[in-house]
């Protein structure tokens, strides 16, 4: 199908993008990679009157290390993350997750910020940003504010972003040298959205894990952390009994919801399967 007619503007500065967004109100839409937005326009699920293309805005670009944080600009593409040495070194979880996002032609355009702002509970980046305890840097009419990933994902496709705000970048604490991670998703076909997935990081000392973050995606209305399971595992030598206990606790604490093809019970089952595999992998 073809999109309904709209106007198109391409500001060069963040301040211009912000004022265009305010001016456009409900009828204006930001476009970054367009890999979600243009599909919805082609299907006529949405009919904005103007697209504000932010891809020329320099402030939103680039991956860098600033102090003890890895800064990923909102416009950084999935491919740039996949290919980045800085990411591989300082946030290896993201490097492992990237190839699971759609296919290369889509990863070449789709952006980190677009994925976070869209807030799809089945998407990889929201879950990873939660596991890595990322902070979102947001600009709006009142200037800059920062929101933790924990407070950013509010509900299904709903984030803490206000309609007149732009996600500028994300700051991620650099991975400590004893960080271990696990990323896995159960999907019908490579590149499809997961039926259930796990993005996990921890710090490892012998067989003991600490600072555990087990984040599940595609099982609930937002990515979710298994906090009770994390607390259970933190600081104790990991063995098969502890793994079995953690699996039960995680299944219990997460409020899984069904999708079109999979029941909530099936999702709960998969949460346990993923955590068991993940913990065994981290122990190995």
């Amino acid at each position: 199908m073809k999109a309904a007619a709209f106007d198109y503007v391409k500001p060069k500065a963040l301040s211009d993008a912000l004022s265009l967004l305010k001016q456009g109100g409900d009828d204006a839409r930001l476009i970054a990679g367009g890999q979600t937005l243009l599909a919805t326009l082609n299907m006529r699920l949405s009919e904005p009157s103007v697209l504000i293309d932010i891809t020329d805005v320099q402030e939103l670009k680039g991956i860098s290390v600033i102090g003890d944080q890895l800064r990923i600009g909102a416009l950084v593409t999935h491919t740039e993350i996949e290919d980045s040495e800085l990411v591989a070194k300082h946030a290896p979880l993201l490097r492992a997750a990237a190839p699971h996002i759609a296919h290369r032609a889509i990863r070449n355009l789709g952006t980190w910020g677009g994925s976070l702002a869209y807030g799809d509970p089945a998407a990889e980046w929201p879950a990873c940003s939660l596991a890595l305890r990322a902070t979102m840097v947001i600009h709006g009419p009142a200037g800059e504010r920062k929101v933790t990933a924990n407070d950013f994902f509010v509900d299904l496709y709903t984030t803490a972003l206000e309609p007149d705000e732009i996600l500028v970048a994300t700051e991620i604490p650099l991975a400590p040298s004893n960080q271990v991670f696990y990323f896995h998703e159960l999907a019908r076909r490579h590149g499809d959205y997961a039926v259930a997935g796990l993005a996990a990081v921890a710090q490892k000392d012998g067989t003991t894990l600490s600072h555990c973050a087990f984040t599940f995606f595609s099982v609930s209305s937002t990515p979710v952390m298994a906090t009770a399971a994390q607390n259970l595992v933190n600081g104790k030598p990991l063995n098969s009994e502890l793994i079995a206990e953690a699996v039960d606790v995680a299944r219990d604490e997460i409020d899984a919801i069904a999708d079109i093809t999979n029941s909530a019970e099936a999702k709960k089952h998969l949460i346990g399967v993923l955590l068991e595999r993940g913990l065994k992998h981290l122990l190995a």
Binding site: A3, F6, Q35, S49, H103, A105, H190
Partner: protein
């Protein structure tokens, strides 16, 4: 609102100036305005890959990219890449393996395969399958398509070239 925008881009080596409606996606522009029928349209939702073209050296979904976004860019389609010879060994390998039936998916498959061969010269058969799974072949010719790509990877790894076809009298 049907206000047209002036754009200019290099398509297959030629500078093109045009006026387009912002809603016109790149493949409609290439097919309808420039009469380049190589890139095909299947789903227009990003799912099938028939519309794959290159913009500034990377493959993209031509149905999820607007012609206005390509203003100032370098666009390449299967037509241009065939002329320049970039796809020659893949095309030869596709022919040898009969890796096409109706050919609807072939231009997208070739462009996706070319980026794989360039970016992941050591890809395993499994990785080739994963990579190419983003391009639908409705004639289900995947097996021979994967064979054809793996042959090119092997030939290149040995420094050999699969020679382009020459017409026999």
């Amino acid at each position: 609102m049907s206000l047209k925008k002036k754009i200019s881009m290099t398509v297959n080596g030629t500078l093109v100036n045009a006026e387009v409606e912002p809603r016109r996606h790149l493949v409609d522009f290439l097919r309808e305005d420039l009469h380049l029928k190589g890139p095909h349209l299947g789903c227009e939702q990003g799912a099938c890959g028939a519309c794959t073209v290159k913009v500034d050296g990377q493959i993209i979904r031509g149905c999820l990219y607007l012609a206005v976004q390509a203003d100032g860019c370098v666009v390449e389609t299967v037509e241009g890449l065939t002329k320049s010879g970039v796809l020659a060994d893949l095309q030869e390998s596709f022919m040898r393996h009969n890796a096409m039936q109706c050919g609807f998916c072939s231009s997208g498959m070739l462009l996706a395969a070319a980026e794989l061969v360039e970016k992941q010269p050591k890809a395993s058969r499994e990785e080739v399958r994963e990579w190419i799974s983003g391009n639908y072949c409705r004639c289900t010719g995947y097996h021979s398509i994967v064979d054809a790509i793996v042959d090119v990877l092997n030939a290149r790894a040995k420094g050999q070239k699969i020679k382009p076809v020459t017409a026999h009298a």
